[in-house]
């Protein structure tokens, strides 16, 4: 059976400056939640798949070519039925 949904998580690689994450982190601390040590931001995409051959490989290819910039980002894909 073909997988019909892929969820892609794109994150900045470790060590890449994340000004957005830092700003959110400051806001959280200003709100008084001092148990939060750090925040890293990222984004996710849901791809509905129509089946077909090699869809896992193709989704990985899409991530590599478009959804993530391999210079600064890494990605993970969850496939669910």
């Amino acid at each position: 059976m073909s997988k019909n949904k892929a969820t892609v998580f794109v994150r900045l690689k470790d060590g890449v400056l994340d000004p957005q994450g830092l700003t959110i982190e400051k806001a959280i601390k200003n709100m008084g939640y001092d148990m939060v040590n750090s925040v890293r931001s990222g984004r996710f995409f849901e791809l509905e798949l129509g089946g077909g051959e090699n869809s896992k490989e193709k989704v990985t290819e899409i991530c590599r070519k478009l959804l993530a910039n391999p210079v600064i980002e890494k990605f993970e894909v969850d496939f669910d039925k």
């Binding site: 060590g15 890449v16 400056l17 000004p19 957005q20 478009l66 910039n69 210079v71």
Partner: protein
């Protein structure tokens, strides 16, 4: 000679680049991003703006516009490709130049004049300047913070591929004069072969002193002289 200016949906400095080419008395033509032919243009400008709304990442979608295949081929054959601001972002996403531009370190959109120092004048784009010249050129961007893993920045420096660095009015490269947090104050870089250049500041907006600065003028003259020389060589 003829300048080709690529227009993506969301480009907004294409007319400025076109006008800059015309101001130095040369021909210019717009190339719509869906086209696949560069129509004999001698130099291709990828202009500033927000191609495809800057969705996903700046330049990420534009990289897959049909014309970019022709641009990559043109670059591989030694053709001059010049990416300004958003055009620089497109060149990085395309892999025609190394690295990435991330959000400015203070998260703000910065639109103002900055000073940049010329680091190389042996290029088609900069031959009319002297090394160390300080140019006043405007910037207008939010994602201009040049990022690369530190080893790669070292490599760029070693291979002398940094063309412009942010500096103060006197030409000192300082952290204070860095408007966006770019590694090593990098404002513009060039490909190994020297024919693909990208920069964040907008020389096409600094063509006439009545508009604040004419320091970009000589960049367009450099390009023209280079092309005319190579056309002359072909004819000879």
């Amino acid at each position: 000679m003829k300048f080709g200016v690529v227009t993506f949906p969301g480009s907004n400095c294409d007319y400025d680049a076109f006008a800059a080419a015309r101001l130095i008395g040369e021909d210019a033509e717009f190339l719509w991003h869906q086209e696949t032919d560069l129509r004999g243009c001698d130099v291709i400008i990828l202009p500033g703006g927000f191609a495809h709304g800057d969705y996903l990442r700046s330049g990420a979608i534009a990289r897959f516009s049909p014309i970019m295949k022709a641009v990559a081929r043109f670059a591989a054959e030694g053709g001059l490709v010049f990416g300004i601001c958003n055009g620089f972002q497109v060149l990085l996403e395309s892999g025609l130049l190394p690295g990435a531009l991330i959000r400015n370190r203070d998260l703000r959109f910065r639109g103002r004049d900055v000073y940049i120092r010329v680091e190389r004048n042996d290029l088609a784009f900069t031959s009319e300047y002297r090394v160390g010249d300080v140019l006043k050129i405007p910037i207008a961007h939010k994602d201009g913070n040049y990022y690369n893993f530190s080893g790669d920045v070292e490599l760029l420096k070693k291979s002398n591929r940094v063309v412009f660095r942010y500096c103060d009015r006197e030409g000192n490269v300082t952290d204070r004069s860095n408007p966006n947090g770019s590694a090593d104050n990098i404002a513009g870089i060039v490909s190994e072969s020297g024919n693909v250049m990208g920069m964040m500041p907008h020389p096409e907006r600094a063509m006439e002193s009545i508009l604040g600065s004419s320091d970009g003028y000589r960049m367009f003259i450099s390009i023209r002289n280079f092309i005319n020389r190579s056309i002359g060589c072909e004819k000879a």
